[in-house]
Amino acid sequence: MKTLARSIALATITLTFGGVACSSLAKDTHMSLDQLPVSIAYSPKTPIGADTYPQEQTAFVQGVTAQAKAKGYQVTGQRVFVFVGYVPEIGPQWVVLHAELNNQLTDTYRAEEIAKEVSAEEPVASSFWRLSDGQVLAVAQSQPLPDGKALVGYFSLKK
């Protein structure tokens, strides 16, 4: 119980300092992908490795890479999560995740959404944001996995 309380306290401190860091980043906007919010709709809350849903993940990342390339960018970093949804019975909902991330990026990081797409191929949905320092990020959702979940990837891009 004591350990749990300590973990919660540490998590609170981390979140608090994360919040402060976000505020200062509003002026010096360069951010790394691990500063993007980890949604409550992901399980686990940490990025997955290449050995989780390997085939689906490869196809998903290739799809995003091709989409970025078509816009003149190359992928320089990525974090991939498993998106179970806000209500497991309903499953992944890009429209809710988009609102959650878009509000954070535009309100906290003064980002501007520069492109968004939906597709019948990989990825099923994606959005691209430009931060005030010119840094470009993409977030995308995969086609449904065989178990009804989906992959969500955060990608850093450069020209």
Binding site: P92, H98, A99, E100, N103, V124, P144
Partner: protein, 371 residues
Amino acid sequence: MSDRTDQDLYGPTGKPDAADIHQRNLGDCYFVAPLGALATQQPERIQDAIAYNAETKSFTVTLYQHGHGGFLGLSDEAKPVKIEISQAELQTDMKVSDNLTHGPANARGPIWPAVMEAAYAEQQERQGEGMVQGLSRIGGGGYPKNAIYALTGEQPNRVSAHDAKSVPVDQMYDRLNGALQEGRPVLLSTNYMKDVPNDGLIKGDGNSGHVYMVEGATKDAAGNVELTLRNPWGHNIAPGMGINSPNPITKVDLKTVLESGHVDELAIGPKPPHRTQDKDQTQQQGHDGSPKQAPSQVQTGDPAMDHLLASLNDPKAMDQALSSLAQSPEGQAFHAQGQAQYQAMEAQQAQQAQVQQQQAPEAPTGPVMVR
């Protein structure tokens, strides 16, 4: 994925249900919320709009678009259009929008929302485009008034937050409750709130608001008016957006959400369509229900007009009178002038719509774009 038939259209109740809607991948709350409100208030309208053709395994959906009608074709008249949705198009909608009730696209559930959404996407497609482009067009936000028109052929009565605030809350209650009692679909559109709200509504998505189905209105002894709203997401878990509940229903105090500036407007759709029997009865009566009066015997001095007035009780004679009037040099000139004005107006509206579409993410005008 196996073919879907009319057996897959509805759930156990055999009719559309607002709870069948789960907005997943597209920003089209402005379409699925009116669709859900119609499912609650006028399910037969949706059932009548969808037909299944077992031979082609396709669905035909009747939607409406602006057309010309009335005297000399000069007035705006809703034109029904039949849109055919093939199995491939339906499955593309399920893959891209994934708007099914129970689980993702590979699960089975009532497909009527997907059929209707695919039809709306096809209606919005431009020449040479396919279903994915159509879905992309409808998925970037829009306005409930356009969706209500496409679904019913009638413009909704819109009450801006400004107008709603300017009347006593009692009056708004009477209006909204009266509309719901009459079987009309009612929608509430929100503005994007910079600060996280605490009023039962979500903050919005990056400058865009959201649309809710209004399912009820109550007034307590103190005169407070509470609206019962359904979120087309199928829940209200909105991290960092002011509400966190798995229940799709949220209750809001009307005065609070109007005064905070969170509400953009309320839209009240049309009454349920009349049955044929009712229509016949209505035609034999005046607008106030009284028997129709005999046509006027007034002489205007214009033979064509007098001929027209004399024919008011005889549809065949009226048709002839209208034809003669339309074919007369004055009628032709009037028609040409009206057509030119109408075309100029359409061109101007198209240009304005294009400009609004290009500018929408940065500076939406008029009602707030919702998704």
